[in-house]
């Protein structure tokens, strides 16, 4: 499925990072950078509030299976706390953090796809993926 493929690609980059990076917070930092980019790019199209609502809902849904993830905001359109996500991922072993993050990303993308269609999600995320390609490069100081 196309909408999954973009989430899979981001997950693959994070997994690659986990194997190659010598910097311990590389995965949480890169994941947070992705989410900030998603927030920015997708927010330009559907509005930042809408992105935050989707993110918070995705967190709450994924947290049932991965309790280590932070709680979403109680208000559906409350601001997205990506720092809390970074901290939660950092507190877990790489493998667990990767799995939890992948589940969160898939939930988010699938939820968005159910609203605007997988094709359009792919189009919007393709610009995010290309703009964040460089983020996947390990040991980038600016992520710290």
């Amino acid at each position: 499925m196309t909408s999954r493929s973009i989430a899979d690609r981001i997950h693959a980059r994070l997994a690659e990072l986990a194997e190659t990076s010598s910097v311990i917070p590389a995965i949480p930092d890169t994941a947070v950078a992705y989410w900030k980019e998603i927030h920015l790019r997708l927010g330009q199209v559907i509005g930042e509030r809408a992105v935050e609502a989707l993110y918070n809902r995705s967190l709450r849904r994924t947290r049932d299976q991965y309790p280590s993830l932070p709680e979403g905001q109680t208000r559906p359109d409350g601001p997205a706390d990506f720092a809390a996500l970074g901290a939660a991922l950092a507190s877990q072993p790489n493998a667990v953090a990767l799995e939890a993050h992948s589940a969160l990303l898939h939930t988010f993308v699938n939820h968005l796809a159910s609203l605007i269609g997988a094709g359009l999600v792919e189009r919007i995320f393709s610009s995010i993926a290309s703009s964040t390609n460089e983020l996947a490069a390990p040991d980038r100081g600016r992520l710290k």
């Binding site: 330009q44 199209v45 509005g47 609203l115 605007i116 094709g119 359009l120 189009r123 919007i124």
Partner: protein, 502 residues
């Protein structure tokens, strides 16, 4: 040496019928307002135009503000065939502005628009909904609303962007400064009457070109919006010059009827076949189509009552199946005359058809939205004129109750609109229900004045003899004249009953 004037290129909107109403398309770099009430189709129209025009060389930028939430807008607009998600973020860009509006009002919005336009360099800009940008903001931001609009207009023109502001304006709100600044004002309406909903579009202003004034119906389907321009606009061929030679005659599929018409129906004429239910109108129409097919001609039939494949026998069904007869099967609700005219003329042109059948005008009137019933006669006249301009010969059937206390030859006062009229009637003869037909009119041509009996059998209409020994046929109770000479002799004398009732 002549210095050339500025030429305004016109952009094809991709909305069927709209270019004609606009007077040839949208002027490039124009500053337009699309207005109307919620649900009238403004956002759909804007998207359809955007996807029709956007390309790599002509990118489009769609600003969403506080109108329909973008998630919903994107969700629903995708249901239309024109929405091509592959072009999103390639040549179609969406940008949400509401957050900027909350931060700093009009100035902030203007800055955001400037930044985005400078980055994307769009040739097409849409602001949806513009009213939400402006409502109550002009004082708070310190920028006068009119100044804001003028700045936006000037900026877009300088950027050579064709711009559309989409807003929920009341049509009476003509003091709004945007109306003055805009080059084009396109208004959409939606009216309800009972269960009928009719959509109309009005191009109230389009600088530099001659639009078609008035309200024009449109329909929204999965393909998007289709505007039904008046038939005369669709016809681009110049009117034919006055004829110096007689028209060729069109065979009706019945030799005796051809003879009664003076040698067939003159080519390009419109014929009204009027009569009561079951009298044989549709059978006559089927014979007309079949004869055309036999001669290798193509035809179009517009059906409002019977199903083509069931009612006209296997032969006509076969012609439809083979494509020799095109069908305009108007199952859609709330039709307008212009919509039907558009469909018919398009089909006539597609098939290069020489014959058209409308079966029947009575069903056609019933299929129209109630709002069009009031001016049905005028609309029908436009339809007939438009069909005549295609050069096709037209046969229309019409239900007309037999009335034996008055002589009527057509319903709707349509006798003067058509070139020829044939009436069918029931009469009582020897306690049997018989049918008669007569040619009432063939414009500019001699024709029979006989009332002829006819029967219907498996081969169609069989026209028989006239009934010279009877009179009072149209009164429903014919009388046999016992002795014509005696009748002539006794006239003028006080003879109460020179004929005997049958």
């Amino acid at each position: 040496m002549t210095i050339p004037k500025a030429t305004i290129r016109r952009l094809s909107t991709g909305v069927s019928g709209l270019d004609e109403v606009l007077g040839g398309g949208l002027p490039e770099f124009s500053f337009n307002l699309i207005g109307g009430s919620p649900g009238s189709g403004k956002t759909t129209l804007a998207h359809q135009i955007m996807f029709a025009l956007a390309s790599a060389e002509r990118p489009a930028l769609y600003f969403t503000v506080l109108g329909e939430p973008p998630l919903k807008m994107l969700r629903y607009q995708q249901q239309f065939d024109f929405f091509d998600h592959e072009r999103v973020n390639q040549c179609v860009h969406f940008l949400y502005l509401a957050d900027r509006l909350g931060d700093g009002g009009l100035d902030s919005v203007l800055t955001a628009v400037f930044e985005a336009v400078a980055r994307v360099k769009p040739a097409l800009v849409f602001v949806d909904s513009f009213r939400s940008v402006t409502t109550g903001r002009h004082d708070a931001s310190g920028a006068d609303l009119q100044q804001f609009i003028q700045q936006l207009s000037v900026m877009m023109s300088n950027w050579e962007a064709t711009t559309f502001l989409i807003g929920e304006y009341a049509s009476q709100d003509e003091t709004n400064p945007v109306f003055t600044v805009a080059d084009g004002l396109i208004w959409l309406y939606q009216t309800s009457q009972g269960n009928s909903v009719v959509r109309k579009i009005d191009v109230r202003k389009m600088r530099g070109q001659r639009t078609v004034p008035g309200l024009h119906t449109f329909r929204i389907t999965s393909e998007g919006i289709s505007v039904f321009a008046p038939p005369r606009v669709l016809e681009t061929e110049p009117p034919k010059r006055a004829r110096t030679t007689p028209r060729a005659r069109v065979a009706m599929g019945n030799a005796i009827l051809d003879e009664m018409l003076g040698g067939g129906l003159p080519e390009g004429y419109s014929l009204l076949v009027a009569g009561p239910s079951g009298a044989g109108k549709s059978i006559l129409a089927a014979a007309f189509l079949a004869e055309g097919a036999r001669l290798g001609e193509t035809a179009v039939i517009a059906l409002f009552e019977q199903r083509a494949t069931f009612a006209r026998g296997a032969f006509i069904a076969g012609l439809i199946e083979s494509g020799q007869v095109g069908v305009v099967d108007t199952g859609a609700a709330d039709l307008s005359v212009d919509e039907v005219a558009g469909l018919l003329i398009a089909e006539v042109k597609r098939l290069n058809a020489s014959r058209v059948v409308i079966d029947s005008l009575s069903g056609f009137e019933l299929a129209l939205a109630p709002t069009f019933s009031a001016d049905f006669r005028e609309s029908l006249s436009r339809l007939i004129v438009a069909l005549a301009r295609t050069g096709a010969t037209v046969l229309m059937t019409s239900e007309m109750e037999d009335r034996y206390d008055e002589l009527r030859f057509s319903p709707y006062g349509s006798a003067f609109m058509t070139d020829a009229i044939v009436i069918l009637r029931y009469i009582e003869v020897e306690s049997r229900l018989k049918r008669v037909l007569a040619v009432v009119k063939v414009r500019g041509s001699a024709h029979s004045d006989e009332l002829r009996l006819f029967d219907i059998d498996e081969h169609g209409i069989q026209i028989g003899a006239s009934m010279p020994e009877h009179e009072g046929l149209l009164g429903g109770r014919p009388r046999r004249v016992t002795d014509v000479a005696a009748l002539s002799d006794v006239r003028g004398r006080d003879v109460a009953n020179p004929v005997e009732h049958l």
